[in-house]
């Protein structure tokens, strides 16, 4: 009994552990290893050394050099120039925030300046600014709440930009906790003082800076609105590509196994019609799917948002920023989506031509699915435009990336990249389809698969197809 169980068990294990099944695992490992190594350097710590004043116990101040994270820096404009505002400035670093005083004292000019701030000869990007209003000191001493203008700049719509967007809020929080100590000294023991006031004497007035425009709106809200509207793009690309790829490759492979393809190819008709009909049918199916999905998604998102979570005038604000989900933007993204689908179909078509049986199809499609997922994960975690050049080129070489970034590129008015992306995708499709047509018109379709089967050691499980390698 036991022996026979192991005979079957061994065979089943052997069947499962093949190149085809291990390849995706390796890919997953590599991908996440790569992401894991890159994330920390991109998100958190890039440090710089700056001069800072420090007050020692005897009350003497001295200049010291300290190392701080670039992400901890925030623009700091002080209209009050008082004891308490000074106190805030000096003590913010103890909360992990490094205030930087811009040359301009006009907040909007300062935001522009901070975008490319020159720190000891190194250009860094500071995305937040707080403005201490005149009369802060007086109001605090009179027990009044103080509002502080907090500016956040949005330069992309990835997940990291949310982190940057939050840092003005973090600064306000830090100011509160810095002040609490001081106010406690001031009002300690005063029974008429609200404990809440001591804890949170200041609150923020949020401004968002985007495309060189400033509007009184919370940046996190803008980001979350945009991501609620665009989140479905990557998901839809993934779904569509998986389905359409499978369909078209499957339809070729099925015709091969049933030998109906041979019948079609000896019929008195243009062979190109066979290819075009298949590609177009799959593309139309994909587009219908995309439309249905988008509409359902919008309804779903709309019902989730409940319609009234955004403040009055929010739509007008978005309009000012140039963030509009109108016919034009949707059309551009639609074209992008269509191009992506065509890329996927063209690749799948080639795969379908080269393989012999439907069983190995799944395995061969996995690389496509990964090509779809890599930019998806990357665009979720970071702004692809901030990647090192080589990584950036690699990521943009994946045609699907351009569709993921389409909305962002429209919203931050990066039209060059948008147009370049569309052209690149079109060229990509054209080349692949040309290759496909070549193969279709030659006899490779009927000889290639057999040749690879016959080669010693290259069984069905191998990933190499003639001279090509998939993956």
């Amino acid at each position: 009994m036991k022996n026979k169980f192991f005979v079957i068990f061994k065979k089943e294990l052997k069947d499962l552990i093949t190149v085809q099944t291990l390849f995706p695992l390796v890919l997953i490992f590599v991908l996440f290893y790569f992401l894991g190594n890159m994330m920390p350097s991109l998100i958190s710590d890039d440090t710089v050394t700056i001069q800072s004043e420090q007050t020692d116990q005897s009350g003497q101040t001295s200049e010291v050099e300290i190392t701080v994270s670039k992400n901890s820096m925030i623009g700091f404009i002080d209209y009050d120039k008082s004891e308490l505002s000074d106190y805030i400035y000096v003590n913010l670093p103890t909360r992990g925030i490094t205030p930087i005083i811009p040359k301009s004292s006009n907040p909007e000019e300062a935001m522009t300046e901070l975008e490319t701030y020159n720190l000891n000869g190194e250009e860094i990007k500071i995305q937040s600014l707080i403005v201490i209003p005149e009369g802060l000191d007086a109001k605090l001493r009179a027990g009044e709440y103080v509002s502080i203008d907090a500016y956040s700049s949005i330069d992309s719509f990835g997940l990291t930009s949310m982190i940057a967007g939050a840092s003005a809020q973090t600064a306000i929080g830090s100011i509160n906790s810095v002040l609490t100590r001081e106010l406690f000294d001031l009002y300690g023991g005063d029974p008429s003082i609200d404990i809440n006031y001591i804890n949170y004497p200041v609150y923020s007035n949020d401004y968002t800076y985007l495309n060189s425009k400033t509007e009184k709106v919370n940046a996190t809200m803008v980001l979350s609105y945009v991501s609620s509207q665009t989140m479905f793009i990557p998901i839809i690309i993934m779904l569509i590509l998986m389905m359409a790829s499978q369909m078209i490759a499957g339809s070729i492979v099925n015709e091969k196994t049933d030998k109906t393809l041979e019948t079609l190819m000896t019929a008195p008709m243009n062979r190109m019609s066979v290819l075009l009909a298949k590609v177009l049918a799959a593309a139309i199916y994909a587009i219908i799917y995309a439309v249905v999905f988008s509409i359902s998604n919008n309804n779903f998102m709309g019902s989730m948002a409940g319609g009234d979570i955004y403040p009055e005038g929010f739509a007008a604000t978005l309009e000012t920023f140039g963030i509009t989900f109108n016919i034009t933007t949707l059309a551009i993204v639609g074209v992008q989506l269509f191009l992506s689908v065509l890329c996927g179909l063209a690749i799948s078509l080639l795969i379908g031509m080269m393989i012999e049986d439907i069983k190995s199809l799944q395995a061969y499609l996995i690389p496509i699915i990964f090509a779809v997922m890599i930019p998806y994960f990357l665009s979720m975690f970071l702004d692809i435009n901030t990647l090192p050049l080589i990584a950036k080129i690699l990521v943009y070489a994946i045609p699907f990336t351009h569709t993921y970034t389409a909305f962002t590129n429209i919203f931050v008015q990066n039209y060059t990249l948008l147009i370049f992306g569309a052209i690149y995708q079109a060229i990509f499709v054209a080349i692949l389809l040309t290759v496909a047509v070549r193969i279709f018109n030659s006899d490779k379709l009927f000889t290639l698969g057999q040749i690879m089967k016959k080669k010693p050691g290259k069984k069905n499980g191998s990933f190499s197809i003639g001279k090509w390698r998939i993956g």
Binding site: T257, D258, K259, T260, E262, T263, L264, M265, T266, A267, P268, M269, S442, D443, F446, T447, Q450, I451, K454
Partner: protein, 249 residues
Amino acid sequence: MPKLLEIKNVKKSYGKKEAVKGISFEVGEGEIFALIGPNGAGKTTTLRMISTLIEINDGQILLGDIDVKKNPAKARELLTYLPDEAGAYKNMTGINYLKFMAELCTNSAEEQKKSVDYAVSVCSSLGDAIYDKIKTYSKGMMRKLLIARAVMTRPKLAILDEPTSGLDIINGLEVRNFIKSLTETGMSVLLSSHNMLEIDYVSDRVAIIDKGIIYAIGTPKELKEKYEAQNLEEVFVKCVKEVEGSREE
């Protein structure tokens, strides 16, 4: 008999493997010509070259006055091809498959209807099953449907790869009788088979092929007489031995 198809010293290799090593034969109009030989002899390769699916490496194939290599599209208007072990679109009904193929292979609604009617009469033994989905068909039913498809446009040349292989005695006989009857319409048939016995009765002439070489061509009667054999199987054994023997000397 005027000739329809002429194969002149045709060669084909798959990578390094030479599948067909320079073969020549002719098929006359209204003739049934059979390539017979064991598995891997090069029969399918030869038939695929003639039906324009794969390119020849050397030699020439003439269909009428058409050079098949130079003008494959023109050749496809004159021939039909039935692959070995072929299937059809499983979710179509038999009749819809015939209609679909007729639409692809003809140029007018009239021709299409004529073709379908003929095909239906050819596979009349399917009965009402013609309205059933193809996935419910047995091997014999499938083969009849596909043969009907192959001849429905009455091509000048029908190329049938192993049309009777895998069929039971009754279905095999039925198919062979049908093929035999085709020449009455003036159609030429080029078929292949690895079963040398059953082909004797069907074919006007046969070519004995093995390892990409044609060893002998003639009517079954001629060949049996020449090699003093009871049947074509014996002819095959003897003529292969003879040629191999003369080579070794």
